[in-house]
Subunit: 206 residues, 2 copies
DNA sequence: GTTTGTGAAACGATTCACAGCT
DNA sequence: AGCTGTGAATCGTTTCACAAAC
C-alpha cells in the first residue's frame, strides 16, 4: 500500500490509546470530533488519517469504539506479539527493561546483552544478562523482531550491523549515533540530548 | 523571527555534533556537502537550514568549523546553562539523572522530586530526592528553566500545572499522557510505547 | 440533522538550479 | 573552478468544504 506518513502513524497510536480510554468508560460510539478533541487535533485530520486504511465509520453517527480500536490494532500490527532484544544493561537499558509500557502489551523483552563481565549472568526483571559476544549465536537460534540499542555511541554501529545480520527487522536506537542500516530495516532514534537542545532553542527564541 | 520547523532544529543540533567531531579531528573547514554526508541529508538542505539564521559560509570555500559551531551554539541557545528539575525518581527518572548526555554540557539537574517516602531523602547522583509536596516552595525560591516529568500518566498533568505555575518555561514529558500547557510553555513528549508501535506498524506493513 | 469520506485548496518543507562571491 | 545563498519548482501534509449516507 502507499506510504503512510510518520506523523499519521503516531496519531493512529494515540487514537488507539484514546479509544481504549473510551472503552473502559463504557462509551460505545465516538465522532471524529471527539477523538480530535482528546488528541489536540482536528476532526478532518482524524478522518483523513483513518481514510488511508478504509471507511470505518457510520455517517451521521460516528465510529464504534471497540470496532475502531480493533481495526487500529490490526493496522498498527498490534494483533501479534513482538520479540525484543535489548543490547546494553546500563542504567538506561535496565530502566527500559523494567519500565511498564515497554515490556508489556505487545512487546516482550526476550533477551538482554552486555559486554561487562560484572553484569553478565545477573538477572534483570527475571531475564539473565548474556554476553554480547553470544548475540549472533542466540539470535541465530531464536530470532527477534526488534533490537533496542542502549549502548554508548561508539559500539552502536557494530551492534546494529550484528542485529541486521541476524535478521532483526526493526531497531530502536537510544545511542547518540547516526546508524546506517539497510532500507528494509526500520530504524527509530531516541536522542535525549537532541530533545533538550530543541527545548533550549525555543527557550532562547533566537 | 519567523517560525523555525521542528525538523530544522533537530538537524541543527546534529550539525553541531558533527562540527564538534570535525573540530576534534582538526578539520578547520567543511562544505555543506561534507556536513550533509555525515548527517544523511543533502547539501541544499544544510544550506537552507543555515540560511534561516544568516550567511555563515564563504563561497568557493565552505564554513569555518569552529566559527559555525559557535554560531550554532548561539542559535540553539547553548551559550548558557539550563537548570532542570526532574519529577519522578523511579527507574527511568533515576537512569536519566545518571545518564551522561543528559545532565552534562549545558543542562544541570538541580533537583529531583518524588512522592514516595522511601525515596525522599535518598541521594541520586549526589542530589537529594525531595518531597514533591515541596516543589512549589522550592521553585519559588530557586526557579528552573526545564521540568522533566518521569511520573506515571495519572499525576503527570497536575505536575505539569505545578511546573507552569512556578514559571518553568519548558517541559520534557516521558509520561504517556497528553499534557495541556499554555502556548508559551515549550513541551516535548517522549513516549516509548509510541516508538515501539511505530516500529510494529512498519513490521506489519499493513 | 448529524457526521463521515474525500477531492480541491492551502500550506509547509524539501529539492532544484543557478547567479553571485571567493 | 568551487561552493554558498536563494528564488522557483516540487513534493508532501493539513485544512477546507461539501456531497453522500444514515
Amino acid at each position: 500500500m502507499r506510504r503512510i506518513a510518520e506523523s499519521t502513524v503516531r496519531r493512529l497510536s494515540l487514537y488507539l490509546s484514546f479509544l481504549e480510554e473510551f472503552e473502559t468508560q463504557g462509551t460505545d460510539t465516538v465522532s471524529s470530533e471527539a477523538l480530535a478533541l482528546r488528541g489536540r487535533t482536528t476532526s478532518a485530520q482524524v478522518r483523513k488519517d483513518l481514510s488511508h486504511f478504509g471507511s470505518f465509520g457510520k455517517r451521521g453517527l460516528g465510529y464504534g469504539v471497540p470496532q475502531l480500536a480493533e481495526r487500529l490494532r490490526s493496522i498498527l500490527g498490534l494483533d501479534r506479539r513482538y520479540r525484543m532484544v535489548v543490547i546494553g544493561a546500563g542504567k538506561l537499558g535496565s530502566a527500559l527493561v523494567q519500565h511498564r509500557g515497554f515490556s508489556e502489551r505487545w512487546f516482550d523483552v526476550v533477551a538482554i546483552f552486555d559486554n561487562d563481565p560484572a553484569k553478565i549472568g545477573r538477572a534483570l526483571d527475571g531475564i539473565t544478562i548474556l554476553d554480547v559476544g553470544r548475540l549472533e549465536e542466540y539470535l541465530g537460534q531464536t530470532p527477534a523482531d526488534i533490537g533496542v540499542i542502549v549502548t554508548p555511541a561508539d559500539p552502536a554501529q557494530s551492534v546494529a550491523d550484528l542485529l541486521v545480520a541476524t535478521k532483526v527487522r526493526a531497531i530502536l536506537n537510544f545511542a547518540p549515533a547516526q546508524l546506517s542500516v539497510p532500507h528494509d530495516v526500520a530504524l527509530r532514534n531516541v536522542n535525549l540530548s537532541l530533545e533538550l537542545e530543541a527545548l533550549a532553542f525555543t527557550l532562547a527564541d533566537y
